[in-house]
Each structure stands twice: as structure tokens, then as C-alpha cells.
Symmetry: C2
Subunit: 145 residues, 2 copies
DNA sequence: TTTCAATTTGTAATTTTTACAAATTAATAA
DNA sequence: TTATTAATTTGTAAAAATTACAAATTGAAA
């Protein structure tokens, strides 16, 4: 049995063709794809694949902690094959999302609301990425005023 | 001039009736309302208010840093009259969002992607709130098995 | 096999958000 | 003030994302 199927089974998920394909896609693409991207890319290989199956499967994978979803902007939910906690950086210019390690002890000073039992934490940074800043600098350089 | 109008002007926003109403709503409701909630509540007082105006105004307020938006779940963008950085806790059972202080130094150990210039940070915790946990405990108590 | 349960599919509906042009309101200058 | 221009608001319609649901298919168990 392939490693993706094993990963699914270890999370209590029966490894159907579609589920393997979607999980494999997430593990091989650390690009935080949207539902639409996943659907369109996989549809080439599995022409009978349905959008609903992609939605259902992603919901299942997340519920079983085989991956995680991030809603870093208002336009689309993104999916991340890595279910371990890590911070996300999004560039406001190009929209790209970068990963970064997150040491949970970094967050230990935050005060919890009374009685709240936290199961997951997400840290999102918004700003401008290196490439876009370089581009900006270039543009500025060209301007003579 | 009322304090809400002053707040808008201090952020470079001309204080129209609609803008004051929306900003005032956010300042008076720390409930992280959605666009729809804001629209429906204000529509009672300003029957001519348009949904588009709510969207446009919220975008403007955010751009000018008079408040901030949070996309803590995939269903709706939420709005927060407090533009200062603070952590958000969402209960997965009831959906409610709680605020908590966020000391930015708590996050200083996180490694940035090379060249990334961060302008904003969001910290989201997901879990179960005190009330929902109490409810759960009650339900369990009732079960005899 | 046969039966039953799980999974997938496709369509349609719902919800959220954006686009855009017309109407209204406010600001500026003659 | 009045005319002109700019800013803002409105409403409709379109686009995009998500969910609901029933039928069809596939897989597992008896």
C-alpha cells in the first residue's frame, strides 16, 4: 500500500481513489491551493471527479486531522497538507502564502478567555514579500521625480 | 461634532451619515458582526441604506485603519471596531468569537520568510468555549451509559 | 450472489462578494 | 446664489464560493 493511503488509514479514513488523489495532491503541493485549483488539476487525471467530492473529501480530511484548512483571506479557503501548527505569511501584493515554523511556546503568554479549551492555533502575518518589495524598489528607481 | 465622526476624520475619512452609522455600530458592538448583520441592523434606522454601501464603507474603514476585518472562518468575514492587534478565540460549537490581549513581544521568536515585511498579525485560537463545555458536561451527566 | 452501507456524482439552490452605471449628495468656484 | 465638478450612495445584476440533496455507483459483508 502506498504511503498516502497509509497516511489516510492512520487517521481513520478509508483510502478511496479520490481521497488518495486529493491527499497526495496536498502533500505534493505546498502552495496552499484552493478547492478550485485542486479540482481543476485533478480533473485532468480523474475526468469523472466531482467538485462536490473535493469539498466533501477536504472536509473529511480536516475533521480527521489529516491536513488543515486556512482562511487567511476573504476570497478562498486554502488547504495545507501539513497539519502541524505553523505560521503563515501572506503577501498583500501577490497573494502568495509562505510558511514558517511556529514554536507553540512563543504564544504561551496570551491570556485565554475563561474556560476556553483551545484545540488549534493559527498565526497569520500580512505584509509584503521580498520579491514584491524588490519590484517596488525597481519601480521607484525608474521614476525620476 | 460627535466622537465617531472625529474618529473617522482622524483616519482621513469624510464622515457621511452612512459611514458614521457603520463605524458607530462597530464601536458599540464588540460581537464581530458580519456584513449581513451590520446591514440588517442598520437598515432599520436608515431604510435607504444599500448593501453595497456597507461593503464599500467597510473596505474603506479597513484601508484607513479605522477598524479591522478578520476571516476567522470560511463562512463570513467578520468586523472588529478595535484596530489594535489582539488575539481571537472562536468556539467551534457555537461560533462565538472572544477577544484577548496580544502582546506583540509574545511573537518575536517566529522566523520570517526572507525579505518579508510584516504589517499586520492575526492570532486565531479555535476550540470550545466555557459555556459550551459546561453544556457538554451536563449532557454527559444525563447519559447513564 | 444478494444485500446493505459507504462513497461519489451532478444538478440546483444558497450565500457571499464584486462590478458597474445611474442617482443623489456634497463641495467648490464663478 | 447658481453652475460645475467631485464624491458618495444606491440598486441591479453578475460572479464566485459553498452547501443541499437525491440518484448512481462502488465496495464490503453475509
Amino acid at each position: 500500500m502506498n504511503s498516502v493511503a497509509k497516511h489516510l488509514m492512520s487517521h481513520g479514513i478509508r483510502p478511496s481513489i479520490q481521497r488518495i488523489a486529493i491527499m497526495q495532491y496536498l502533500m505534493g503541493h505546498a502552495t496552499h491551493p484552493t478547492v478550485d485549483t485542486i479540482y481543476k488539476d485533478l480533473h485532468d487525471d480523474i475526468p469523472t471527479l466531482s467538485r462536490t467530492t473535493v469539498y466533501n473529501t477536504l472536509a473529511l480530511l480536516e475533521e480527521k486531522n489529516a491536513m488543515m484548512s486556512i482562511t487567511i483571506d476573504s476570497h478562498n479557503v486554502r488547504y495545507d497538507g501539513n497539519a502541524n501548527p505553523h505560521a503563515h505569511f501572506q503577501c498583500r501584493k501577490c497573494g502568495m502564502i509562505f510558511d514558517s515554523e511556529l514554536n507553540v511556546t512563543d504564544l504561551q503568554n496570551i491570556k485565554y478567555p475563561k474556560g476556553f479549551d483551545a484545540q488549534q492555533v493559527q498565526v497569520f502575518y500580512y505584509g509584503t514579500c521580498g520579491k514584491c518589495r524588490e519590484k517596488e524598489a525597481m519601480e521607484k528607481g525608474k521614476q525620476i521625480n
